[in-house]
Protein backbone atom coordinates (compact mmCIF):
# COMPACT_ATOMS: atom_id res chain seq x y z
CA UNK A 1 0.00 0.00 0.00
CA UNK A 2 1.20 3.47 -0.79
CA UNK A 3 2.45 5.56 2.11
CA UNK A 4 1.19 8.68 0.48
CA UNK A 5 -2.31 10.03 0.17
CA UNK A 6 -3.43 12.48 -2.47
CA UNK A 7 -4.06 15.19 0.16
CA UNK A 8 -0.35 15.28 1.10
CA UNK A 9 0.70 15.79 -2.49
CA UNK A 10 -1.91 18.46 -3.22
CA UNK A 11 -1.30 20.43 -0.01
CA UNK A 12 2.44 20.21 -0.43
CA UNK A 13 2.27 21.68 -3.91
CA UNK A 14 -0.32 24.31 -2.93
CA UNK A 15 1.97 25.46 -0.14
CA UNK A 16 5.01 25.65 -2.40
CA UNK A 17 3.03 27.73 -4.87
CA UNK A 18 1.91 29.94 -1.96
CA UNK A 19 -1.69 29.24 -2.79
CA UNK A 20 -3.06 28.39 0.63
CA UNK A 21 -4.39 31.73 1.91
CA UNK A 22 -7.94 32.86 1.30
CA UNK A 23 -6.85 35.16 -1.55
CA UNK A 24 -5.33 32.25 -3.45
CA UNK A 25 -5.64 32.24 -7.21
CA UNK A 26 -5.32 28.48 -7.65
CA UNK A 27 -7.87 26.37 -5.87
CA UNK A 28 -6.98 23.11 -4.20
CA UNK A 29 -9.32 21.25 -6.57
CA UNK A 30 -7.38 22.64 -9.48
CA UNK A 31 -4.09 21.45 -8.03
CA UNK A 32 -5.65 18.04 -7.42
CA UNK A 33 -6.77 17.97 -11.04
CA UNK A 34 -3.26 18.75 -12.20
CA UNK A 35 -1.82 16.07 -9.96
CA UNK A 36 -4.14 13.46 -11.47
CA UNK A 37 -3.48 14.72 -15.00
CA UNK A 38 0.30 14.58 -14.69
CA UNK A 39 0.03 11.45 -12.52
CA UNK A 40 -1.84 9.57 -15.26
CA UNK A 41 0.88 10.35 -17.75
CA UNK A 42 3.72 9.31 -15.47
CA UNK A 43 1.89 6.20 -14.32
CA UNK A 44 1.17 5.05 -17.87
CA UNK A 45 4.83 5.42 -18.81
CA UNK A 46 5.85 3.58 -15.65
CA UNK A 47 3.52 0.63 -16.31
CA UNK A 48 4.74 0.23 -19.87
CA UNK A 49 8.34 0.17 -18.74
CA UNK A 50 7.96 -2.46 -16.04
CA UNK A 51 6.63 -5.99 -15.91
CA UNK A 52 4.90 -5.53 -12.59
CA UNK A 53 1.55 -6.24 -11.00
CA UNK A 54 1.71 -3.22 -8.69
CA UNK A 55 -0.89 -1.28 -10.62
CA UNK A 56 -2.93 -4.17 -11.92
CA UNK A 57 -6.41 -4.21 -10.49
CA UNK A 58 -8.57 -7.29 -10.61
CA UNK A 59 -12.32 -7.11 -10.78
CA UNK A 60 -14.36 -10.24 -10.22
CA UNK A 61 -17.99 -10.94 -10.96
CA UNK A 62 -18.22 -8.33 -13.70
CA UNK A 63 -21.65 -9.05 -15.21
CA UNK A 64 -21.91 -10.13 -18.84
CA UNK A 65 -24.90 -8.67 -20.63
CA UNK A 66 -26.50 -9.59 -23.91
CA UNK A 67 -27.38 -6.38 -25.68
CA UNK A 68 -31.16 -6.14 -26.16
CA UNK A 69 -31.26 -3.44 -28.81
CA UNK A 70 -28.74 -1.54 -30.89
CA UNK A 71 -27.85 2.08 -30.49
CA UNK A 72 -25.01 4.06 -31.98
CA UNK A 73 -22.19 4.02 -31.40
CA UNK A 74 -20.81 0.78 -29.98
CA UNK A 75 -23.99 -0.97 -28.87
CA UNK A 76 -24.92 -3.90 -31.08
CA UNK A 77 -27.97 -6.06 -30.50
CA UNK A 78 -27.47 -9.72 -29.65
CA UNK A 79 -23.79 -9.54 -28.74
CA UNK A 80 -22.38 -10.27 -25.35
CA UNK A 81 -20.34 -7.66 -23.60
CA UNK A 82 -19.27 -6.14 -20.33
CA UNK A 83 -18.99 -2.56 -19.28
CA UNK A 84 -15.45 -1.82 -18.16
CA UNK A 85 -15.48 -1.45 -14.39
CA UNK A 86 -12.85 1.29 -14.56
CA UNK A 87 -11.32 3.59 -17.10
CA UNK A 88 -8.16 2.11 -18.63
CA UNK A 89 -4.95 3.33 -20.21
CA UNK A 90 -4.93 3.04 -23.98
CA UNK A 91 -1.77 0.98 -24.34
CA UNK A 92 -0.64 -0.68 -27.55
CA UNK A 93 -2.64 -3.83 -28.34
CA UNK A 94 -5.17 -3.02 -25.64
CA UNK A 95 -2.70 -3.86 -22.90
CA UNK A 96 -4.72 -1.69 -20.55
CA UNK A 97 -6.65 -4.93 -20.16
CA UNK A 98 -4.26 -7.51 -18.81
CA UNK A 99 -6.57 -10.50 -18.91
CA UNK A 100 -10.19 -11.57 -18.99
CA UNK A 101 -11.36 -14.98 -17.83
CA UNK A 102 -14.33 -16.99 -16.79
CA UNK A 103 -14.72 -16.86 -13.10
CA UNK A 104 -16.60 -19.45 -11.07
CA UNK A 105 -16.86 -18.82 -7.38
CA UNK A 106 -18.64 -21.93 -6.18
CA UNK A 107 -15.84 -24.40 -6.76
CA UNK A 108 -13.44 -25.21 -3.97
CA UNK A 109 -9.92 -26.61 -4.14
CA UNK A 110 -9.71 -26.03 -7.86
CA UNK A 111 -7.03 -24.05 -9.61
CA UNK A 112 -8.10 -20.48 -10.32
CA UNK A 113 -10.17 -20.36 -13.47
CA UNK A 114 -8.25 -17.45 -14.91
CA UNK A 115 -5.33 -19.77 -15.50
CA UNK A 116 -7.14 -21.95 -17.99
CA UNK A 117 -10.17 -20.26 -19.46
CA UNK A 118 -8.74 -16.96 -20.45
CA UNK A 119 -10.07 -14.90 -23.31
CA UNK A 120 -7.70 -13.95 -26.10
CA UNK A 121 -7.60 -10.45 -27.51
CA UNK A 122 -8.70 -9.73 -31.03
CA UNK A 123 -10.21 -6.87 -32.98
CA UNK A 124 -13.49 -6.84 -34.89
CA UNK A 125 -11.71 -6.89 -38.24
CA UNK A 126 -9.11 -9.55 -37.51
CA UNK A 127 -11.67 -11.77 -35.81
CA UNK A 128 -13.04 -12.68 -39.25
CA UNK A 129 -9.85 -14.62 -39.94
CA UNK A 130 -10.22 -16.58 -36.71
CA UNK A 131 -13.31 -18.31 -38.09
CA UNK A 132 -11.36 -19.68 -41.03
CA UNK A 133 -9.37 -22.22 -39.04
CA UNK A 134 -10.83 -25.01 -36.97
CA UNK A 135 -8.30 -24.44 -34.22
CA UNK A 136 -8.60 -20.66 -33.96
CA UNK A 137 -12.37 -20.52 -34.25
CA UNK A 138 -13.97 -18.79 -31.24
CA UNK A 139 -15.65 -21.28 -28.91
CA UNK A 140 -16.45 -21.58 -25.20
CA UNK A 141 -13.07 -23.20 -24.63
CA UNK A 142 -11.27 -20.70 -26.88
CA UNK A 143 -13.06 -17.38 -26.38
CA UNK A 144 -11.95 -13.94 -27.56
CA UNK A 145 -12.57 -10.33 -26.57
CA UNK A 146 -12.34 -7.05 -28.38
CA UNK A 147 -12.58 -3.49 -27.22
CA UNK A 148 -14.81 -0.95 -28.93
CA UNK A 149 -14.84 2.58 -27.63
CA UNK A 150 -13.88 3.52 -24.12
CA UNK A 151 -16.57 1.63 -22.29
CA UNK A 152 -17.37 -1.79 -23.67
CA UNK A 153 -15.58 -5.08 -24.18
CA UNK A 154 -17.37 -7.54 -26.47
CA UNK A 155 -16.90 -11.31 -26.54
CA UNK A 156 -16.71 -13.97 -29.23
CA UNK A 157 -17.16 -17.68 -28.62
CA UNK A 158 -19.52 -17.58 -25.64
CA UNK A 159 -22.65 -16.80 -27.62
CA UNK A 160 -24.19 -20.18 -26.90
CA UNK A 161 -23.13 -20.68 -23.31
CA UNK A 162 -24.38 -18.98 -20.23
CA UNK A 163 -21.54 -16.94 -18.78
CA UNK A 164 -22.98 -14.71 -16.11
CA UNK A 165 -19.83 -12.91 -15.10
CA UNK A 166 -16.15 -12.71 -15.82
CA UNK A 167 -12.96 -11.72 -14.08
CA UNK A 168 -10.89 -8.91 -15.54
CA UNK A 169 -7.51 -7.39 -14.76
CA UNK A 170 -7.04 -3.74 -15.67
CA UNK A 171 -4.38 -1.10 -15.68
CA UNK A 172 -6.67 1.73 -14.82
CA UNK A 173 -6.33 5.48 -14.77
CA UNK A 174 -7.13 7.54 -11.69
CA UNK A 175 -10.78 7.96 -10.92
CA UNK A 176 -12.31 11.30 -11.89
CA UNK A 177 -11.73 14.11 -9.41
CA UNK A 178 -15.39 14.13 -8.47
CA UNK A 179 -15.15 10.57 -7.20
CA UNK A 180 -11.69 10.45 -5.72
CA UNK A 181 -11.07 10.39 -1.97
CA UNK A 182 -8.25 12.74 -1.02
CA UNK A 183 -7.48 10.59 2.00
CA UNK A 184 -7.29 7.25 0.21
CA UNK A 185 -3.84 5.83 -0.56
CA UNK A 186 -2.47 7.47 -3.68
CA UNK A 187 -2.15 4.72 -6.30
CA UNK A 188 1.08 6.00 -7.77
CA UNK A 189 4.72 4.82 -7.86
CA UNK A 190 6.43 6.38 -4.87
CA UNK A 191 9.72 6.82 -6.67
CA UNK A 192 8.07 9.11 -9.20
CA UNK A 193 6.52 11.48 -6.65
CA UNK A 194 9.35 13.97 -7.01
CA UNK A 195 8.91 13.97 -10.79
CA UNK A 196 5.21 14.46 -10.34
CA UNK A 197 5.71 17.31 -7.92
CA UNK A 198 8.20 19.03 -10.17
CA UNK A 199 5.93 18.82 -13.19
CA UNK A 200 2.90 20.14 -11.31
CA UNK A 201 4.98 22.98 -9.86
CA UNK A 202 6.13 23.88 -13.36
CA UNK A 203 2.54 23.87 -14.49
CA UNK A 204 1.48 26.09 -11.56
CA UNK A 205 4.36 28.46 -12.08
CA UNK A 206 3.53 28.80 -15.75
CA UNK A 207 -0.09 29.54 -14.95
CA UNK A 208 0.85 32.15 -12.34
CA UNK A 209 3.15 33.85 -14.84
CA UNK A 210 0.34 34.50 -17.28
CA UNK A 211 -0.12 38.30 -17.08
CA UNK A 212 -3.43 39.78 -16.06
CA UNK A 213 -3.87 41.54 -19.43
CA UNK A 214 -3.83 38.17 -21.16
CA UNK A 215 -7.01 37.36 -19.41
CA UNK A 216 -10.31 38.47 -20.86
CA UNK A 217 -12.08 40.56 -18.22
CA UNK A 218 -14.63 41.90 -20.71
CA UNK A 219 -13.30 45.52 -20.63
CA UNK A 220 -12.09 47.26 -23.81
CA UNK A 221 -8.69 48.95 -23.35
CA UNK A 222 -8.52 50.57 -26.83
CA UNK A 223 -8.39 54.44 -26.60
CA UNK A 224 -11.62 56.05 -27.77
CA UNK A 225 -9.86 58.14 -30.48
CA UNK A 226 -8.56 55.01 -32.19
CA UNK A 227 -11.95 53.54 -32.66
CA UNK A 228 -13.10 54.20 -36.29
CA UNK A 229 -16.31 56.14 -36.46
CA UNK A 230 -16.79 56.17 -40.26
CA UNK A 231 -17.44 53.38 -42.65
CA UNK A 232 -14.25 52.19 -44.34
CA UNK A 233 -14.38 52.54 -48.16
CA UNK A 234 -12.19 50.78 -50.71
CA UNK A 235 -9.73 52.85 -52.82
CA UNK A 236 -11.28 51.25 -55.88
CA UNK A 237 -14.71 52.41 -54.96
CA UNK A 238 -16.28 54.76 -57.55
CA UNK A 239 -16.33 57.51 -54.90
CA UNK A 240 -12.51 57.58 -54.94
CA UNK A 241 -12.06 57.54 -58.73
CA UNK A 242 -11.04 60.84 -60.46
CA UNK A 243 -11.87 61.91 -64.02
CA UNK A 244 -8.29 61.27 -65.15
Amino acid sequence: MSNTILRYVVDDISKDLKQVADDKKIERAQVAYWVLMVGNRLKSQHIQKRDSGMFLHTYVGVPVEKVASSSNPNTVEGRKRIKLPASIFDFNKDRGIDYISYWIDDEVDCPPEFTNKTFTRTTPKTSAILYMDEYTKPSPSNPYWYLTGMEYVYFLGIEKVDVESIEIGLYSTFDPLTEIDLDAPFDFPEELLNVLKRQVLDLGRFVLQIPEERRNDGVSTTPAENIPTQKLISVNDSVNKSEE
Binding site: K93, T120, Y135, T136, K137, S141, N142
Partner: protein, 265 residues
Protein backbone atom coordinates in the same frame (compact mmCIF):
# COMPACT_ATOMS: atom_id res chain seq x y z
CA UNK B 1 3.02 -47.73 -35.61
CA UNK B 2 6.13 -48.65 -33.68
CA UNK B 3 5.49 -46.72 -30.48
CA UNK B 4 3.21 -46.85 -27.50
CA UNK B 5 -0.35 -45.64 -27.71
CA UNK B 6 0.09 -44.45 -24.15
CA UNK B 7 3.07 -42.20 -24.60
CA UNK B 8 1.92 -38.87 -25.90
CA UNK B 9 2.54 -35.37 -24.72
CA UNK B 10 -0.11 -32.71 -24.39
CA UNK B 11 -0.21 -29.91 -26.97
CA UNK B 12 -0.24 -27.47 -24.06
CA UNK B 13 3.26 -28.61 -23.09
CA UNK B 14 4.51 -27.55 -26.50
CA UNK B 15 2.41 -24.39 -26.36
CA UNK B 16 4.00 -23.42 -23.06
CA UNK B 17 7.46 -23.69 -24.55
CA UNK B 18 6.61 -21.98 -27.83
CA UNK B 19 5.15 -18.88 -26.21
CA UNK B 20 8.29 -18.53 -24.10
CA UNK B 21 10.56 -18.98 -27.12
CA UNK B 22 8.74 -16.40 -29.19
CA UNK B 23 7.88 -13.66 -26.70
CA UNK B 24 4.19 -14.44 -27.06
CA UNK B 25 3.26 -15.02 -23.44
CA UNK B 26 0.34 -12.67 -23.86
CA UNK B 27 -0.71 -14.33 -27.14
CA UNK B 28 -1.17 -10.98 -28.82
CA UNK B 29 0.20 -11.45 -32.33
CA UNK B 30 -0.89 -15.07 -32.65
CA UNK B 31 -3.69 -16.82 -30.83
CA UNK B 32 -3.52 -20.09 -28.94
CA UNK B 33 -5.49 -21.71 -31.74
CA UNK B 34 -2.91 -20.58 -34.28
CA UNK B 35 -0.22 -22.52 -32.43
CA UNK B 36 -2.42 -25.62 -32.10
CA UNK B 37 -3.08 -25.35 -35.80
CA UNK B 38 0.65 -25.25 -36.49
CA UNK B 39 1.19 -28.36 -34.36
CA UNK B 40 -1.38 -30.09 -36.51
CA UNK B 41 0.29 -28.94 -39.70
CA UNK B 42 3.66 -30.17 -38.46
CA UNK B 43 2.22 -33.61 -37.67
CA UNK B 44 0.47 -33.68 -41.04
CA UNK B 45 3.73 -32.96 -42.81
CA UNK B 46 5.49 -35.62 -40.77
CA UNK B 47 2.72 -38.05 -41.70
CA UNK B 48 3.38 -37.50 -45.40
CA UNK B 49 7.14 -37.45 -45.18
CA UNK B 50 7.82 -40.28 -42.77
CA UNK B 51 4.72 -42.53 -42.96
CA UNK B 52 5.08 -42.86 -39.19
CA UNK B 53 1.40 -43.51 -38.62
CA UNK B 54 -0.09 -46.77 -39.86
CA UNK B 55 -3.79 -47.39 -39.36
CA UNK B 56 -5.85 -50.55 -39.79
CA UNK B 57 -9.47 -50.12 -40.66
CA UNK B 58 -12.18 -52.73 -41.01
CA UNK B 59 -14.98 -52.33 -43.54
CA UNK B 60 -18.06 -54.35 -44.38
CA UNK B 61 -17.64 -55.49 -47.96
CA UNK B 62 -19.66 -53.03 -50.07
CA UNK B 63 -22.37 -54.56 -52.24
CA UNK B 64 -21.35 -52.20 -55.08
CA UNK B 65 -17.81 -53.63 -54.85
CA UNK B 66 -16.60 -50.03 -54.54
CA UNK B 67 -15.18 -48.74 -51.29
CA UNK B 68 -14.61 -45.04 -50.59
CA UNK B 69 -11.29 -44.46 -48.89
CA UNK B 70 -12.11 -42.71 -45.62
CA UNK B 71 -10.80 -39.30 -44.59
CA UNK B 72 -7.42 -38.68 -42.93
CA UNK B 73 -5.68 -41.70 -44.45
CA UNK B 74 -3.62 -42.10 -47.57
CA UNK B 75 -1.42 -44.71 -49.22
CA UNK B 76 -2.97 -48.18 -49.07
CA UNK B 77 -0.44 -50.58 -47.54
CA UNK B 78 -2.27 -53.88 -47.22
CA UNK B 79 -5.72 -55.25 -48.08
CA UNK B 80 -7.21 -58.46 -46.76
CA UNK B 81 -10.61 -59.94 -47.31
CA UNK B 82 -12.11 -62.25 -44.72
CA UNK B 83 -15.31 -63.84 -43.58
CA UNK B 84 -16.82 -63.75 -40.17
CA UNK B 85 -16.83 -60.77 -37.85
CA UNK B 86 -14.39 -59.03 -35.56
CA UNK B 87 -14.43 -62.00 -33.17
CA UNK B 88 -14.11 -64.77 -35.71
CA UNK B 89 -11.88 -64.13 -38.67
CA UNK B 90 -11.84 -66.90 -41.23
CA UNK B 91 -10.66 -67.44 -44.79
CA UNK B 92 -8.57 -64.29 -44.71
CA UNK B 93 -6.86 -63.67 -48.01
CA UNK B 94 -4.57 -61.08 -49.44
CA UNK B 95 -6.21 -59.05 -52.20
CA UNK B 96 -3.82 -58.02 -54.96
CA UNK B 97 -3.78 -54.93 -57.06
CA UNK B 98 -4.76 -55.31 -60.69
CA UNK B 99 -3.69 -52.73 -63.16
CA UNK B 100 -6.38 -50.70 -64.92
CA UNK B 101 -9.33 -52.44 -63.38
CA UNK B 102 -12.54 -50.52 -62.76
CA UNK B 103 -16.03 -51.42 -61.67
CA UNK B 104 -18.64 -49.85 -63.92
CA UNK B 105 -22.25 -50.41 -62.95
CA UNK B 106 -22.90 -54.10 -62.64
CA UNK B 107 -19.89 -55.05 -64.68
CA UNK B 108 -16.25 -54.17 -64.79
CA UNK B 109 -13.73 -53.03 -67.34
CA UNK B 110 -10.02 -53.67 -67.48
CA UNK B 111 -7.29 -53.18 -70.01
CA UNK B 112 -6.66 -56.90 -69.89
CA UNK B 113 -9.64 -59.05 -68.97
CA UNK B 114 -9.80 -62.81 -68.77
CA UNK B 115 -11.34 -63.32 -72.20
CA UNK B 116 -10.09 -60.22 -74.04
CA UNK B 117 -12.72 -60.79 -76.65
CA UNK B 118 -11.64 -59.60 -80.09
CA UNK B 119 -8.60 -57.83 -78.67
CA UNK B 120 -5.89 -57.95 -81.34
CA UNK B 121 -3.04 -57.65 -78.84
CA UNK B 122 -4.08 -59.39 -75.65
CA UNK B 123 -4.91 -63.03 -75.86
CA UNK B 124 -7.46 -64.57 -73.57
CA UNK B 125 -6.24 -66.03 -70.34
CA UNK B 126 -7.54 -68.54 -67.88
CA UNK B 127 -9.32 -71.77 -68.54
CA UNK B 128 -12.69 -70.49 -69.52
CA UNK B 129 -13.91 -73.33 -71.69
CA UNK B 130 -16.37 -71.25 -73.69
CA UNK B 131 -13.58 -69.62 -75.66
CA UNK B 132 -10.90 -72.27 -75.56
CA UNK B 133 -11.80 -73.65 -78.95
CA UNK B 134 -11.85 -70.35 -80.83
CA UNK B 135 -9.20 -68.00 -79.41
CA UNK B 136 -5.55 -68.71 -79.03
CA UNK B 137 -4.50 -67.73 -75.53
CA UNK B 138 -1.84 -67.96 -72.88
CA UNK B 139 -3.38 -70.24 -70.41
CA UNK B 140 -2.86 -68.91 -66.92
CA UNK B 141 -4.08 -70.40 -63.70
CA UNK B 142 -2.96 -69.85 -60.13
CA UNK B 143 -1.29 -72.51 -57.97
CA UNK B 144 -4.50 -74.38 -57.31
CA UNK B 145 -5.76 -74.21 -60.84
CA UNK B 146 -8.17 -71.28 -60.59
CA UNK B 147 -8.83 -69.10 -63.57
CA UNK B 148 -7.85 -65.42 -63.55
CA UNK B 149 -11.52 -64.51 -63.28
CA UNK B 150 -11.68 -66.33 -59.98
CA UNK B 151 -8.92 -64.36 -58.33
CA UNK B 152 -9.16 -61.64 -55.68
CA UNK B 153 -7.95 -58.29 -56.84
CA UNK B 154 -8.74 -54.60 -56.75
CA UNK B 155 -8.20 -51.46 -58.76
CA UNK B 156 -7.94 -47.83 -57.70
CA UNK B 157 -9.93 -44.91 -59.06
CA UNK B 158 -10.55 -41.40 -57.68
CA UNK B 159 -10.26 -42.17 -53.99
CA UNK B 160 -12.13 -45.45 -54.37
CA UNK B 161 -11.06 -49.07 -54.27
CA UNK B 162 -12.82 -51.30 -56.84
CA UNK B 163 -12.97 -54.99 -55.97
CA UNK B 164 -13.28 -57.96 -58.33
CA UNK B 165 -16.40 -60.10 -58.49
CA UNK B 166 -14.79 -62.93 -56.65
CA UNK B 167 -14.19 -60.69 -53.61
CA UNK B 168 -17.93 -60.71 -52.96
CA UNK B 169 -17.46 -63.92 -51.05
CA UNK B 170 -15.81 -61.92 -48.25
CA UNK B 171 -18.00 -60.27 -45.70
CA UNK B 172 -15.31 -57.87 -44.48
CA UNK B 173 -12.20 -56.07 -45.56
CA UNK B 174 -9.25 -55.14 -43.41
CA UNK B 175 -7.19 -52.37 -44.96
CA UNK B 176 -4.03 -50.77 -43.69
CA UNK B 177 -3.32 -47.18 -44.61
CA UNK B 178 -0.88 -44.50 -43.65
CA UNK B 179 -2.68 -42.09 -41.38
CA UNK B 180 -2.71 -38.30 -41.37
CA UNK B 181 -2.15 -37.45 -37.72
CA UNK B 182 -4.40 -34.90 -36.07
CA UNK B 183 -3.75 -33.03 -32.86
CA UNK B 184 -6.47 -32.74 -30.26
CA UNK B 185 -5.71 -29.75 -28.01
CA UNK B 186 -7.76 -31.20 -25.18
CA UNK B 187 -5.67 -34.30 -24.59
CA UNK B 188 -2.13 -35.69 -24.97
CA UNK B 189 -1.93 -36.33 -28.69
CA UNK B 190 1.62 -35.68 -29.88
CA UNK B 191 4.09 -38.61 -30.02
CA UNK B 192 6.80 -37.90 -27.48
CA UNK B 193 9.68 -38.34 -29.89
CA UNK B 194 8.33 -35.49 -32.01
CA UNK B 195 8.48 -32.99 -29.16
CA UNK B 196 11.50 -31.11 -30.45
CA UNK B 197 10.48 -30.91 -34.07
CA UNK B 198 6.97 -29.73 -33.22
CA UNK B 199 8.36 -27.11 -30.83
CA UNK B 200 10.78 -25.80 -33.42
CA UNK B 201 8.19 -25.88 -36.18
CA UNK B 202 5.69 -23.89 -34.12
CA UNK B 203 8.32 -21.42 -32.91
CA UNK B 204 9.41 -20.81 -36.48
CA UNK B 205 5.84 -20.31 -37.66
CA UNK B 206 4.93 -17.96 -34.82
CA UNK B 207 8.04 -15.89 -35.45
CA UNK B 208 7.21 -15.88 -39.15
CA UNK B 209 3.90 -14.23 -38.26
CA UNK B 210 5.59 -11.78 -35.91
CA UNK B 211 8.18 -11.02 -38.55
CA UNK B 212 5.38 -9.95 -40.85
CA UNK B 213 4.42 -7.31 -38.31
CA UNK B 214 7.92 -6.05 -37.52
CA UNK B 215 10.61 -7.51 -39.70
CA UNK B 216 13.54 -5.69 -38.13
CA UNK B 217 12.66 -6.81 -34.66
CA UNK B 218 11.90 -10.47 -35.29
CA UNK B 219 13.89 -11.55 -38.31
CA UNK B 220 16.96 -12.51 -36.32
CA UNK B 221 15.11 -14.73 -33.87
CA UNK B 222 13.03 -16.21 -36.68
CA UNK B 223 16.26 -17.06 -38.45
CA UNK B 224 17.51 -18.89 -35.34
CA UNK B 225 14.45 -21.11 -35.25
CA UNK B 226 14.39 -21.63 -39.00
CA UNK B 227 17.93 -22.94 -38.53
CA UNK B 228 16.96 -25.09 -35.57
CA UNK B 229 14.22 -26.68 -37.62
CA UNK B 230 16.18 -26.79 -40.89
CA UNK B 231 13.15 -28.02 -42.77
CA UNK B 232 14.97 -28.91 -45.98
CA UNK B 233 18.41 -29.71 -44.66
CA UNK B 234 20.19 -32.26 -42.54
CA UNK B 235 21.17 -30.33 -39.43
CA UNK B 236 17.94 -29.58 -37.68
CA UNK B 237 15.17 -31.16 -35.69
CA UNK B 238 13.19 -31.99 -38.84
CA UNK B 239 15.88 -34.32 -40.13
CA UNK B 240 16.34 -35.80 -36.67
CA UNK B 241 12.62 -36.57 -36.48
CA UNK B 242 12.74 -38.28 -39.86
CA UNK B 243 15.75 -40.25 -38.72
CA UNK B 244 13.98 -41.40 -35.58
CA UNK B 245 11.09 -42.79 -37.59
CA UNK B 246 13.41 -44.50 -40.03
CA UNK B 247 15.40 -46.13 -37.24
CA UNK B 248 12.30 -47.66 -35.70
CA UNK B 249 11.46 -51.30 -36.22
CA UNK B 250 14.80 -52.61 -34.94
CA UNK B 251 13.44 -56.11 -34.37
CA UNK B 252 12.02 -56.26 -37.87
CA UNK B 253 15.42 -55.39 -39.28
CA UNK B 254 17.28 -57.78 -36.97
CA UNK B 255 14.97 -60.64 -37.83
CA UNK B 256 15.14 -59.93 -41.52
CA UNK B 257 18.93 -59.79 -41.38
CA UNK B 258 19.06 -63.10 -39.63
CA UNK B 259 16.71 -64.71 -42.08
CA UNK B 260 18.55 -63.44 -45.14
CA UNK B 261 21.96 -64.36 -43.77
CA UNK B 262 21.17 -68.03 -43.16
CA UNK B 263 21.64 -68.79 -46.87
CA UNK B 264 20.22 -72.26 -46.54
CA UNK B 265 16.63 -71.47 -47.36
Amino acid sequence: MNFSEHDFIAPDEILAEVVMNTGEKRLETVSKGFIYSQMNKCLEELSYHTFFDVQSKVFTFPSSQILDIPARVFNVREIYGYSGDSCTTSNSTNIYWKRNFYINGNGAVARSKTDNWNDPFYGGSGIDKRYRAFVPRDVYTDAVGRAASQLYYYGYEKGQLHFSNECKKFSNLLIKFNGIWSVDPSKPSIPRYFRQVVTDWCSERVLRAKKAEDINKWRLLWSDYAGALDRNGFNGSWYQAESIVKRMGTKEREDLNEYLSRLNY
